[in-house]
Amino acid sequence: MATTVLESMGKLAVATVNGQDFAEAAAQYRPQIFRFLLASLRDPDAAETLTQDCLLKAHRNWGSFRGDSSVMTWLLRIAINLQKDHWRSRRMQFWKTTNSNSVDADDASQWLPSLASSPEQQVVARDQIRLVWQAVKGLSERQRTVFMLRHVEEMEIHEIANAIGLSEGTVKAHLSRAMVRVRAELGGKR
């Protein structure tokens, strides 16, 4: 049943790709790609650069995209690979760490949702966000990617598995480990 649903999604994606101009698709999905990369790297400049690279790569391969997955999943897969390359090159360029524009977890937690209206709510929300960022910092690259796709992009498990190229069971395992860490971070403060 799941295969049939996926196949029909793929066929729909093919029709959409064939009918949709690349510029239209890029404009539609660019904010989401940027958001995922920003959340993963905490570096706005690097996220912007990788978003451009992602769309450039997608544009080059737009004709060969077969539509086995949705356009968004395909774009995210490219973004995930670029992000991996980025981390790898950062590890190699250890002397450039001082030039990194990564935003600290404390600064990243300054962005508050509009729901937190009262000062008390804002303080609590800021503290929670800081602790989640703190936990995210301690995750492995793959756990972080799975966590972000799940809890920021709100993707389904099978979509995450498709984007990363892992089985659903492996994705669940990574997510479970990530959640243990997040809970521990949040629980230790309560």
Partner: protein, 144 residues
């Protein structure tokens, strides 16, 4: 998108995750709307040029030429050295044979001289046997 995989999270964790999601989205929206210039470093241009297919083919050609030329020159040098060593060995052998022949000739010449001197001494000192009776008769006649 609906969430079909539900972890047993308590309310506090869910609230924290929701705040986190909203915070990331607010931050992303703000950053996305901000215009920024992306500087391209010279090194990026260099590596992009280095990674171009033409440069790749050129590098591969140089590597292939080097890979063939270096072993060929090494083999050639070895062959030349072997030939020179063979020539030297032949010359040394010839010289050795010449010296040996000269030594043998000297030995033979010395043996001939010794033989001749021996014969000469034999002839000069011994009396021929055929004249011995005549000599005794002459001694008897002188006695009578």
């Amino acid at each position: 998108m609906s969430i079909d995989f539900k972890e047993p999270e308590d309310e506090q964790v869910e609230i924290a995750l929701r705040n986190f999601r909203d915070s990331v989205r607010a931050w992303s929206d703000e950053e996305f709307a901000r215009s920024r210039t992306i500087e391209r470093s010279r090194w990026n241009g260099f590596w992009r040029a280095a990674a171009s297919p033409a440069m790749g083919w050129a590098l591969a050609g140089v590597l292939m030429l080097g890979g063939v030329a270096v072993p060929v020159s090494v083999v050639h040098e070895r062959q030349v050295a072997d030939e020179q060593a063979k020539k030297l060995a032949i010359q040394q052998e010839r010289q050795r044979l010449k010296e040996e022949a000269a030594r043998e000739q000297a030995v033979v010449a010395m043996n001939d001289d010794e033989l001749l001197s021996h014969v000469d001494s034999d002839i000069a000192q011994s009396t021929p046997d055929a004249l011995e009776p005549l000599a005794s008769l002459m001694n008897d006649a002188n006695g009578n």
